[in-house]
């Protein structure tokens, strides 16, 4: 399959050379998706999807043109090449083009993502039994009125070739188990779920995730939560676990450090950033403890594709080091504009039919040197809340003013977790929040969350990336209840 796709990419690149474009690339993709979902204790969805197609991007006098088609029909692909060149010329005829790509060494190669057990080879009976058992476990209590149990497997084969000599391919398997239990009590409803998300991995991720144990935990904690008192309000300390922080960092660090935002290319949709280009290597973003490491070579990271959709290899760098902002994530088109010689390899499209844009890399909050446990962090809190998992989330378009909820809350009093809570939210401003970080557990407590649905761009595209952190502490944060 990959060989056939490489031939198609090579053929498109050859056609682009003959048409005399200044630059051109081809992406050929073939994706198989299996999605199985239990709603309560019944199989509500069993769906297979087979997607394939080609995306062609060209530069003519500094103007982009992009066209795509589904299927791998030769004549349709030739028409797609024509359309890409046509729209680029239309742009060049109206406005002066200004696109300049960073110089990158051409790559040739192939990357296989880690996958020990092919999930498509696991019998449907085994999958159904696993999900049915988890669903039955959640519904052992009548307080659970609804639940979701799902397994999602995706095999994505992708080939990228360009007129500068790059020809690379990847074979990636994405696996994502999901569990959510919903408890109803006294007119209220609360949920609890497994939120570690997706990995580039095979069936071994389903086994490691421990759905059966999570079904029990989700059931018990959803019931505990719906019967819990609402949280306290006022300024207090927060202790946040890795699955919770993964979303907080995604919104308040990942998005503001995208180079297309600082250039204003997302101003109409996803928004801008509070950062300026000359803040690189100067601006204090967080406390001295705060180190954000971007890593598109991270094992299991769902943005570890070998090469991005510019054909640039996956890389590892500091976004924030010892609390100081280091650099934006970039693509070949933005690297020079934000004062960098080379792209960090953050160019990705949702699929073959989308124009690739600047996306967040995998990145994580580097754990503390330790040894420090979450209990050590909690023991130094007089009044606060411990939060696990993600809940409500919202942030302004410049990525400063945010409000987050969570999936499970515990009141901390005099250094101990004393009772579960519900409807806790906290509000802060990005740099105030990260500067309030004064403690971090070590890497034994590191948890990751693989996101498959980060929305950005127009037309809207979903992108995937993995974040992670060890449990960390933040001092004097404004905490509220529900919609108050």
């Amino acid at each position: 399959m990959i060989d056939e796709m490489r031939d198609i990419a090579g053929s498109v690149v050859e056609q682009l050379r003959h048409r005399g474009v200044d630059y051109g690339d081809a992406r050929v993709e073939n994706t198989d998706l299996e999605s199985l979902t239990f709603r309560k204790q019944r199989l509500a969805e069993a769906e297979l999807t087979a997607e394939r197609g080609v995306g062609v991007r060209v530069l003519v006098r500094g103007c982009w043109g992009f066209a795509s088609c589904s299927g791998l029909d030769t004549e349709e692909i030739e028409r797609t090449v024509d359309r890409a060149v046509e729209v680029a010329r239309a742009g060049a005829g109206v406005m002066e083009g200004s696109v300049r790509l960073s110089e990158e060494v051409p790559s040739v190669g192939h990357y296989d993502g880690p996958c020990l057990k092919d999930p498509f080879a696991v019998s449907m009976t085994e999958k159904m039994d696993l999900m049915a058992k988890a669903a039955d476990t959640m519904h052992e209590s009548d307080s659970i009125t609804m639940s979701w149990t799902s397994l999602r497997f995706e095999r994505k084969r992708r080939v990228f070739g360009n007129t500068q000599g790059t020809l690379v391919s990847s074979d990636l398997v994405f696996t994502m188990p999901v569990i959510n239990a919903y408890a109803v009590h006294d007119g209220d409803m609360q949920s609890r779920g497994f939120q570690d998300g997706a990995r580039i991995a095979g069936w071994e991720w389903v086994e490691e995730a421990g759905l059966q144990a999570w079904a029990e935990k989700a059931r018990e904690e959803a019931i505990m939560k719906v019967r819990a008192p609402e949280g306290p309000a006022g300024e207090m300390d927060l202790v946040l676990d890795g699955t919770h922080l993964s979303l907080t960092m995604h919104e308040s660090v990942g998005h503001p450090t995208e180079s297309d935002r600082v250039l204003g290319w997302e101003a109409s949709m996803a928004g801008r950033t509070f950062l300026n280009i000359d803040d690189q290597e100067r601006l204090r973003y967080g406390s001295e403890l705060v180190n954000f490491v971007a890593d598109n070579t991270m094992p299991y990271g769902v943005a570890s594709w070998g090469w991005d959709d510019d054909g640039v290899p996956g890389q590892k760098w500091y976004t924030v080091r010892n609390g100081i902002f280091q650099q934006f994530g970039s693509v070949r088109e933005t690297a020079l504009l934000v004062g960098r010689e080379h792209s960090t390899g953050c160019c990705r499209a949702q699929d073959f039919s989308s124009f690739p844009i600047n996306r967040q890399p995998n990145f994580y909050l580097q754990p503390g040197p330790g040894p420090v446990t979450p209990e050590d962090l909690i023991s130094e809190v007089q009044k606060g809340v411990y939060i696990e998992g993600r809940g409500s989330f919202s942030i302004d378009q410049r990525r400063v003013n945010f409000q987050f909820g969570g999936d499970m809350f515990w009141e901390i009093r005099d250094g101990r977790k004393v009772q579960p809570l519900k409807k806790v939210i906290y509000r802060s401003r990005t740099r105030d929040f990260w500067r309030a970080c004064d403690g971090m557990a070590d890497d034994r407590y590191f948890r990751t969350m693989g996101i498959l649905t980060c929305g950005k761009g127009e037309p809207m595209q979903s992108a995937r990336m993995t974040h992670g952190a060890s449990t960390s502490r933040f001092r004097n944060i404004e905490v509220g209840r529900g919609a108050e």
Binding site: L48, S123, S392
Partner: protein, 422 residues
């Protein structure tokens, strides 16, 4: 492909399916768009896709297979994959056969041939106008100019067969200078109907008026929502309407059918072939129809699957892709002139999320224009701020409604709402 060709593939799939129950649908989609930002074109696209979806059922089990392989020769292989999935699926206690034959589908005229055939030059000229206008005023323009068409054919093993096609043209435009900004969205089935030039100049004027924002002083304010601000909130109500989720105690509408949920000036419905053009059928092949969900503040209907309709004694209903809020005679300007005391005028909201789904409480930010209004006139722009509101409570305090405007698949009026403490 023509409508007849699309139906031909659908019929070939249905004819070859060796199971009692089958539904096949095929969608052809073309989307051409120019994206711009920082006063330059950043993307120029022409995307084309055909997708076939086959649902098979044997009376107990069901499977769905979706593919980009669209040709009659591929049908045996496509069905073989779907059958393999079907054989290994577990029995579904909520199994439903395909919708009964004899569905009568509304004819929805939503196609504009010129928009479907438009080349890239019109789009790039519109983007260039926005960019040059902004640059001439020391502003930056960003946004999207887009034209698309969709053709969908569907058939069921119970004898239903239908095809529908629609076009869509639109522009989303933001201009900003520092923290001053404005945003407008245009949409229609026809590119020719879009007032591009007028809107570009209007947005530039609005940026000028957004300079020198001041902090919001705590206090009570009436809220004046432009149509876009209403359009940003209404989908959260629609997503909470589902009958089964309400019956299971999961939403704010649990046990509320027939009861008052907002003030009597709020009416929310869906239309299939009015100002808005909906889909004439859903993915099961069930015929669409106009529905009123909230009538003068009372919850009168809820989207309901065929299975749950049978269990709960309701009628199967679904949202046909459109939402319409009933309006009144005024405009934003006339409502503003009638404001007594203090109010805030909102152009748009951003990053709205549920805080609590059971309460239908939301949080979000203001964006691209908030203005203090006193006794019928704008006093000054206000800096963006976070809000936490319950839209059903807000829509219980409607004091004035204006004429609805189309915002993609929503028709929404401007609204003046009663005092809220901020």
């Amino acid at each position: 492909m023509t409508g007849e060709e699309l139906l031909g593939v659908v019929e070939a799939v249905l004819d070859s399916a060796r199971v009692p129950d089958a539904v096949a649908s095929i969608t052809e989609y073309r989307d051409a768009a120019v994206r711009f930002g920082q006063n330059r074109i950043t993307q120029n696209m022409d995307r084309f896709e055909r997708k076939l979806r086959v649902t098979l059922g044997d009376g107990e089990r069901r499977s769905v297979y979706t593919t980009h392989r669209i040709d009659v020769d591929a049908v045996p292989d496509i069905l073989s994959r779907a059958m393999e999935m079907l054989r290994t699926a577990s029995p579904d206690p909520e199994y439903m056969p395909p919708v009964e034959g004899g569905q009568v589908y509304p004819i929805v005229e939503a196609w504009d041939g010129e928009t479907a055939a438009m080349d890239a030059s019109a789009r790039t000229r519109a983007a260039a106008l926005a960019v040059s206008t902004a640059a001439g005023r020391d502003m930056e323009a960003s946004g999207l100019v887009e034209m698309s068409y969709t053709k969908t054919a569907i058939g069921t093993s119970t004898g239903n067969l239908a095809v529908h096609r629609s076009t869509e043209a639109g522009m989303r435009l933001t201009m900003d200078r520092g923290k001053a900004s404005s945003f407008r969205m245009l949409s229609s089935e026809s590119w020719a109907d879009l007032p591009i030039e007028e809107t570009v100049h209007r947005v530039a004027e609005e940026v000028q008026a957004d300079q020198a924002q001041e902090e919001l002083e705590p206090g009570e304010y009436r809220l004046l929502f432009e149509p876009q601000a209403v359009a940003d909130l209404v989908p959260y109500i629609a997503w909470s309407l589902n009958a089964r989720q309400a019956d299971e105690g999961l939403t704010v509408f649990s046990g509320k059918l027939g009861e008052r949920v907002t003030g009597e000036d709020f009416t929310l419905g869906s239309e299939v072939d009015g100002t808005l053009k909906g889909m004439p059928f859903n993915e099961e092949g069930l015929a669409s129809r106009d529905v009123v969900w909230i009538d003068s503040g009372r919850l009168v209907a809820q989207p309901c699957s065929r299975y749950w309709a049978g269990q709960s004694g309701r009628e199967p209903l679904f949202i046909p892709g459109t939402l319409a809020v009933k309006g009144g005679p005024g405009s934003v300007e006339s409502i503003l002139r009638g404001v007594k005391g203090r109010a805030l005028l909102f152009r748009r909201f951003w990053y709205i999320r549920f805080v609590d789904q059971k309460e239908l409480s939301l949080t979000g930010m203001t964006r691209d224009g908030v203005f203090l209004v006193e006794d019928g006139r704008i006093v000054h722009p206000v800096k963006d701020f976070r809000w936490n509101w319950k839209p059903l409570d807000l829509f219980s305090t409607i004091e004035a409604l204006g004429q609805p405007e189309r915002k993609w698949q929503l028709s929404v009026p401007p609204m003046l709402l009663g005092p809220v403490r901020l």
